[in-house]
Symmetry: C2
Subunit: 241 residues, 2 copies
């Protein structure tokens, strides 16, 4: 099957969590909105969001077309793909735990986004700069340590391995946490340089995922969009400390 | 089986979405932190969050103990309980769609919370009042209409029924949306009085859920905590318009 991923064509954003999984398992997929021609481009994406004949419209990208299924919400897509491609444990407790962690990552990502857009996504950063400074300050002081400390603990307490967050094998959660560390390091280079000493496990996990052959090939390819000032992870020097 | 729900004892919060489902299906459950004595109270909850011997610690309440399983993250709990008690469709497409909607409700709830805490959850409302005003203003002007309009559309496009969001029967999503409408009506009575005209489907859904025998009994009982100024939905007159 050839999957169709629908996501904004110029940013990593939430779509990147799906791309990383698809790349790691070597899945065949089309990044629809980045293509051109009939049935591709942003128009094809908008049709799902706005078409009056779409019976089950996604709220927002990313969404994935897998045969006749159309699946929205990042963590939902990862749960679906993960269990299909062996990146989620088979036992019920393991599946629930993996999804729980994936949802906690989603919460973390939403808070990271709000550091530069604490008032409104529809306003420019420049129009909420003062609020962003307060929010980013709180984020670096309390929220980021809370989330990073949590995942460091989860990693340390995994009784089956010290290389992965869940069980003895790579799961979708390891890929997503790689992306979070990569993104935070882009957005807050000073704060993260300090954090590296406190969260050694997570930074080592980041390095290991980065070296996986398919991930390394993906990161070196043109399919990997660079971080920029439009996505979730943005670098504003005044928000870093 | 007797479920154990772990959530803060004095607020509805995210735990309420789980309580509503447990009540609707007539499950036996203990609201652990609201109890007293050995193994109950807030101490019992904190043990899961902070105990060094907890192999898979939840990030935050609510979490549910079901036999040997401990399940965290509201949408994850609802997915688990929903499929166990017939409040989630059996077919794969229906299951994925229900969870997608549940995750969109979770996003909505996070944005509702941030109207009064746009800078930091650890600061008082009074210390972020100016920012809250801007954020609540944007919320009522663009975000709430976007979410409510979306769910109204989902309801209208459900080809199997005009009484439920998914398929021909009640699902966990209907219960959660009831709670969102109830909470928003408490927090923003003026704005929601106007909204009632635009989202008739959702308000009718709210009324229908409210009248379900077990939900009605629950709402009339002491088990239902009143809305207050500590939870997700808070009423600050200056944020309503």
């Amino acid at each position: 099957m050839i999957y169709e991923l629908y996501y904004w064509p110029t940013i990593q954003g939430r779509g990147e969590f799906v791309r990383l999984l698809l790349e790691e398992v070597g899945a065949h997929y089309v990044d629809v909105a980045r293509g051109s021609g009939k049935g591709a481009g942003v128009g094809a994406l908008m049709r799902f969001l706005q078409g009056r004949d779409i019976r089950r419209p996604p709220f927002a990208p990313p969404f994935l077309k897998a045969g006749r299924l159309v699946i929205g919400q990042t963590a939902n897509i990862l749960q679906f793909l993960g269990s299909r491609h062996g990146l989620v444990p088979k036992d019920q407790a393991g599946r629930l735990w993996t999804h729980e962690l994936q949802l906690t990552i989603a919460d973390f990502v939403a808070e990271i986004h709000d550091t530069h857009h604490p008032v409104s996504s529809s306003l420019y950063y420049e129009d909420q700069k003062r609020e962003a400074r307060r929010r980013a300050d709180d984020f670096l002081k309390s929220r980021a340590p809370k989330f990073l400390g949590y995942f460091e603990r989860v990693l340390a307490r995994n009784s089956r391995s010290d290389r992965y967050l869940v069980g003895a094998k790579l799961t979708s959660v390891d890929l997503s946490l790689f992306q979070v560390i990569a993104g935070l390091s882009y957005a807050f280079p000073l704060a993260m340089a300090k954090a590296a000493r406190s969260y050694r496990g997570l930074f080592a996990l980041h390095a290991r995922v980065q070296e996986r052959p398919r991930i390394a090939a993906y990161l070196a390819s043109r399919r990997r969009l660079p971080f920029n000032q439009e996505g979730i992870f943005r670098h504003y020097a005044e928000l870093d400390r």
